[in-house]
């Protein structure tokens, strides 16, 4: 269901050339493949020649010397064996090239996409991006796997056949040569006529499927409105137009695709027979030659037919290639080399303002400073800008004005590794990777078992892990399904604790968990207090009563700040929020 697959009438040759260049990265495979192709083709073409020798030199003469015949037979068998072997391995080499190309192309697109600036993802539907990485590269795979091999094999075979014909009888070869331009003309006519018509049938089909899926989802409404009959009639109409479109295609296929090359082949055969028959009346002719020609003619139509059938695949691959190249050429975020280290854990927002679209400000003049070891909490109603503030701190976006400083350095001046190691993040949706429990705690870093277990004990997940069949070596199920939500939170906490960051960012880390887990996390955090700077975005105000400073955000501005007790003492947003949560119990 590629609704966005517009198939243009003309091929973009530049993209095609660029795609083909990828294969040049494998010269060894290419050379092997070419050598095997020539061998295999030779074997195929030589077969009828051997039979010709057999017929003309022995059968017609009624002369059968055993040794010669054995030699001939063995050569024939060897040729067939050779061309089967060469054909197979040639195909395998081409397969290998195809998969290597697609592999490197996929790796390129994927790593380019995941390194694009986050704003890139804001306006692009996920489905489309996914389709670029998977479906489009898959279409390109078809180019190398099916289109390329069909064309190369077909053309080489045709050339070889004509060479063999020329050796046997040059004039008769010329008679047969007429078929080539005619067949290519048929092929191009077919492509020209069928591409738009196929496209039409396909788009009606995707309309049918879209209607079907929409109707299934909206069936309740259709029934409530008593509109079943009307929707049925519409569906039947679309279905009928699909049938009509397919019949047009069928007519075209039946006229030009399968029966046509055979017709041309048989017509040429008539020409060959005529030439050969008239010749035989004046001079002596070799029967073997006609045998060989009849045989060759039967083989020459098949490659053209296959090429014709592959043309639309070629077009789709090139269109897919264009889209993929567009992503690659736009490039990704370049990471400038930076080497400043985080050693203390001081965080400062200085007059930061930010807007996603440049029109509506989401954050306005935010300033605050977290001393090493302090615990800051940020609260606010939905849409107050607290998630955006976190996004800025995590470098998802850059503020338009103002600065965010860690230990006095701007974010982009800090060494990537230092940033990764010294700034820990516990997100609302705990991040679980595939691999084992251990992998999830050390996340690719070298750690001793002792370190890992200590962290797990601190996060109070150690006991649970020990009940698993392989303890720390137990593999995680898909998205951590063998852990409960709370346990995943604790695992994610253990990971953060194991890395001993200077700065810890908690994003509503305790939003979806039970009060027991919440208490565990609380006590683990309290152990960090004083050594690690903590910035927490909180929904549940009960989790931040111990914060050194609470910032209350409303519509992108800090409207209140102070400790829990101070804020609670005043009439205002914080107090209302607090009471609101207290009364949620109802």
């Amino acid at each position: 269901m590629h609704q966005d697959d517009e198939i243009p009438q003309r091929l973009d040759r530049r993209s095609l050339r660029r795609l083909l260049r990828y294969a040049l990265a494998y010269p060894r495979l290419l050379k092997q493949s070419a050598a095997l192709l020539i061998l295999g083709t030779l074997g195929q073409v030589m077969g009828p020649v051997l039979v010709k020798i057999f017929l003309d030199d022995y059968v017609t003469q009624s002369h059968y010397p055993l040794n010669d015949l054995l030699l001939l037979g063995c050569t024939y068998a060897a040729l067939y064996g050779l061309s089967a072997w060469a054909g197979y391995w040639q195909a395998m080499r081409l397969n290998e090239i195809a998969f290597n190309v697609v592999r490197s192309l996929r790796a390129q697109v994927f790593s380019t996409v995941i390194r694009k600036p986050l704003s890139y993802f804001d306006h692009r539907p996920t489905g489309k991006l996914v389709s670029r990485i998977t479906n489009d590269t898959e279409a390109i795979k078809d180019l190398f796997l099916h289109v390329l091999s069909t064309f190369v094999q077909g053309i080489v075979l045709m050339i070889a056949i004509f060479i063999a014909m020329a050796i046997l009888d040059p004039r008769l070869m010329l008679v047969c040569l007429i078929i080539v331009p005619v067949m290519f003309m048929v092929m191009l006519t077919y492509q020209h006529l069928s591409a738009p018509r196929y496209h039409k049938a396909r788009s009606i089909l995707s309309q049918i499927n879209a209607t079907l899926s929409e109707s299934v989802q909206g069936m309740r409404i259709i029934q409530l409105m008593n509109q079943q009959r009307r929707f049925n009639q519409d569906f039947v109409k679309t279905s009928q137009s699909h049938f009509a479109a397919r019949m047009t295609n069928l007519k075209l296929d039946a006229m030009l695709l399968r029966p046509m090359p055979d017709l041309l082949g048989t017509l040429t055969l008539a020409g060959v027979l005529f030439y050969f028959g008239s010749l035989s009346m004046t001079t002596a002719v070799e029967i073997g030659v006609i045998y060989a020609f009849v045989n060759y003619l039967a083989r020459i139509t098949e490659p053209v037919l296959q090429m014709t059938q592959r043309l639309s695949m070629l077009q789709q691959a090139v269109v897919a290639g264009e889209r993929v190249f567009e992503i690659l050429d736009e490039g990704s975020q370049t990471q400038a080399s930076a080497n400043q280290q985080i050693t203390n854990g001081h965080v400062e927002f200085s007059d930061v303002s930010f807007s996603y679209d440049g029109e509506h400000p989401v954050l306005r003049n935010i300033s605050f400073s977290v001393e090493p070891g302090q615990f800051y909490a940020i609260v606010g109603h939905t849409g107050s800008g607290k998630s955006t503030l976190m996004s800025l701190l995590m470098r998802f976006y850059a503020p338009q004005t103002g600065q965010i400083l860690l230990d006095g350095w701007q974010l982009h001046e800090i060494d990537q590794d230092s940033l990764r190691n010294q700034v820990g993040v516990v997100l609302q949706d705990p991040f679980i990777t595939t691999g084992t429990v251990r992998d999830n705690i050390c996340l690719g870093q070298d750690m001793t078992d002792e370190q890992i277990m200590r962290a797990a004990e601190q996060a109070q997940i150690h006991e649970f892990v020990m009940t698993l069949p392989l303890a720390y070596d137990t593999p995680m199920d898909e998205r951590g399904a063998n852990f409960s939500t709370g346990q995943r939170q604790l695992l994610s906490l253990a990971r953060t604790l194991a890395h001993k960051p200077r700065i810890l960012i908690l994003d509503e880390a305790t939003a979806n968990i039970d009060s027991h887990t919440e208490a565990v996390i609380q006590s683990a955090l309290m152990q960090l207090k004083g050594s690690t700077s903590i910035i927490a975005i909180a929904h549940r105000l009960s989790t931040i009563t111990a914060a050194d400073q609470i910032l209350v955000l409303h519509q992108g501005e800090i409207t209140q700040r102070g400790s829990h007790q101070q804020l609670l003492a005043h009439e205002g947003l914080y107090r209302n929020m607090y009471f609101l949560q207290q009364s949620r119990a109802v």
Binding site: G73, Y88, I114, A210, Q217, G218, D262, N576
Partner: protein, 581 residues
């Protein structure tokens, strides 16, 4: 093979097309085989030096005429056979669609959209293939095989035929094995490919995580692992596919060699001529297709049977609610719910219990309560989404079961929780229930729902396309269009099922006052979370865990100081926080 029996109804119905296609196929096969025979005769003439120009011309012209005849007939049988199978596909699609429109909502809770879609798309295609390519390979493969064998035996030599045939069963076996492995491998490759899709989907939607943890390099590695698995599966398919040519080559090569060797001996014995041997080798080429057809047929039949069984299972599914009522008109629209206990099919817990609730015609009823308290269940029973022995709803004193579904639905307009809009213009979406409504009526409904100003702000106004390829509407706009849609139907009963949740408080007030004016004397039922929507209702009921806990008017419920009163205070505080106070 019983798939052909199961599809017998269609073959019988379309017997003309199938018979004509079959006859044409057979004639084409016969004509095709006469070309090698003509070539053989010509060669014999050359060898015997008996060829004159007249005979040569007759051979050549025969070949030309045959070529054209074959071309025409091949064109024709394709048109007959495939038009029949294409039509079957559309028929099945239409049947599935029509059947789906008859299924009550309970059916859709059990079947996932993706599964239903798969039956109407992939399964239909598989059946179509069986009725087209399957019939072709079965019939043509058989006819060609028998004809070629007969011709080889009769016109050349039966001994030579038997010897030449020796490797062919091996080829058929190869084809079957390769075909089956290809099919399995293909399925595996598709699964791996969908893993790849999932992985990329996960990575793209989890891009923030990747950034936050600086995991780009790890993500690359993870992706490549999945991509490599997909590539390996694909590679296996390609490797299997590459076996076809060597298999053909080796068997045909052996067969050629054997037949030429033996043919030479037979010529030496004067049992056959050189021309016959040439024809014979040409015939051998025709035997590849029947062998291939056999392997292919088995695969097509296997896929087609499974697919057809799934389609039939869908077409045989009965709706959980039967349209067996007869009443068309209601005396009045007084509604009465009498529910002793109701549980959803397949669920263990009761969704509603001990409900006795009446709404007189013209009244406004408010239903409030926490999520999952059973508010929507009351409406499902009113609309007869489910039948249950100890839950009765009556309209005008008659059970909803006594009405035809069409007339029951004709009395009630519902604005559901999720305002579902179809891919069509805004005007068409509003006129969904009354396609013949004039633009003036549509605009009046839109004004009542306070959505006209939003609509006119779009460049194309009421003709603006909504849905996937159209404009993106906000949740509030969708809800209001859905309200306009229900109002246009002008039914005696209107249900707003949490239909004002995404509009702001002042718009809600506007819509409610419009409703009060426009729906005098008619019944309105409002389900909501925000209590402001029911403040003016004649009767408000509070549901909790499927039971009626409080009932009264806004004032009386506030005085009762129960759930309603607590919720009212809570929502007031919530309003304050939302506005930053």
């Amino acid at each position: 093979m019983d798939i052909f029996l199961k599809l017998g109804w269609y073959f019988r119905e379309q017997w003309r097309r199938y018979v004509v296609a079959g006859l044409l196929l057979i004639i084409v096969d016969v004509l095709e085989l006469s070309i090698p025979w003509l070539v053989g005769r010509l060669i014999d003439g050359v060898v015997a030096r008996s060829l004159d120009s007249q005979r040569l011309m007759s051979y050549v012209i025969s070949v030309l005429v045959l070529a054209v005849l074959i071309y025409i007939m091949r064109f024709l049988w394709r048109m007959f056979l495939f038009s029949a199978s294409f039509q079957l596909a559309e028929r099945l699609r239409q049947q599935v669609y029509q059947h789906l429109t008859l299924m009550a909502p309970g059916f859709y809770n059990k079947h996932r959209t993706g599964d239903l879609m798969a039956r109407a798309t992939n399964d239909v295609t598989a059946v179509e293939m069986t009725a087209g390519e399957g019939v072709l390979s079965g019939l043509d493969g058989l006819v060609t095989g028998i004809l070629v064998l007969a011709v080889m035996m009769i016109t050349v030599s039966w001994e030579l035929t038997l010897v030449a045939l020796l490797p062919f069963p091996l080829m058929a076996w190869f084809f079957f094995v390769i075909g089956t492995r290809l099919h399995d491998g293909f399925r595996d490759a598709q699964e791996r490919f969908s893993d790849l899709n999932d992985k990329v989907q996960e990575s793209v939607s989890g891009i923030r995580m990747t950034r936050a943890f600086g995991r780009e390099v790890r993500e690359d590695a993870d992706f490549m692992r999945v991509a490599d698995r997909a590539a390996e599966a694909n590679m296996r398919v390609a490797a299997t596919d590459s076996l076809y040519d060597p298999a053909i080559f080796i068997t045909v090569g052996v067969s050629f060699m054997v037949s030429i060797a033996m043919g030479a001996w037979l010529i030496e014995q004067d049992r056959i001529t050189l021309g016959q041997l040439t024809s014979f080798t040409m015939y051998l080429g025709y035997l590849i297709w029947p062998m291939f057809a056999y392997g292919w047929l088995l695969n097509l039949v296997e896929r087609g049977s499974a697919a057809y069984a799934r389609i039939i299972a869908l077409l045989d599914a009965r709706s959980p609610v039967q349209d067996d009522g007869t009443r068309v008109l209601a005396a009045n629209v007084d509604i009465h719910w009498q529910v002793n206990a109701f549980e959803y099919p397949g669920a263990n817990s009761t969704a509603l219990s001990n409900i006795n609730l009446r709404v007189a015609q013209g009244q406004t009823l408010g239903i409030v309560g926490a999520t999952g308290a059973g508010k929507s269940t009351l409406i499902s029973l009113l609309l007869r989404y489910y039948d249950h022995d100890s839950a009765t709803v009556s309209i005008g004193g008659d059970s909803v079961k006594s009405y035809t579904l069409e007339s029951l639905r004709g009395m009630i307009a519902v604005v559901p929780q999720d305002a579902f809009l179809f891919t069509a213009s805004i005007a068409q979406n509003i006129a969904l229930g009354c396609p013949e409504a004039t633009i003036e009526q549509i605009r009046a409904a839109a004004r009542l729902a306070s959505v006209e100003q939003d609509i006119l702000r779009f460049p194309a106004g009421y003709d603006t396309l909504v849905g996937e390829r159209g404009v993106t509407l906000s949740g509030g706009q969708k809800q209001r269009i859905a309200i306009a849609r229900a109002l246009l139907m002008d039914t005696p009963i209107l249900v707003l099922d949490d239909a004002l949740s995404a509009v702001d408080v002042s718009t809600e007030r506007n819509i409610l006052s419009h409703l009060k004016e426009a729906r005098q004397g008619r019944t309105t039922i409002i389900l909501c979370h925000r209590l402001s929507a029911v403040e003016e209702a004649d009767q408000i009921v509070v549901l909790s865990h499927g039971e009626l806990k409080e009932r009264g008017t806004h004032t009386s419920l506030l005085q009762a100081k129960g759930w309603y009163a607590r919720m009212f205070d809570y929502q007031k505080l919530e309003q304050a926080v939302a506005s930053g106070r």
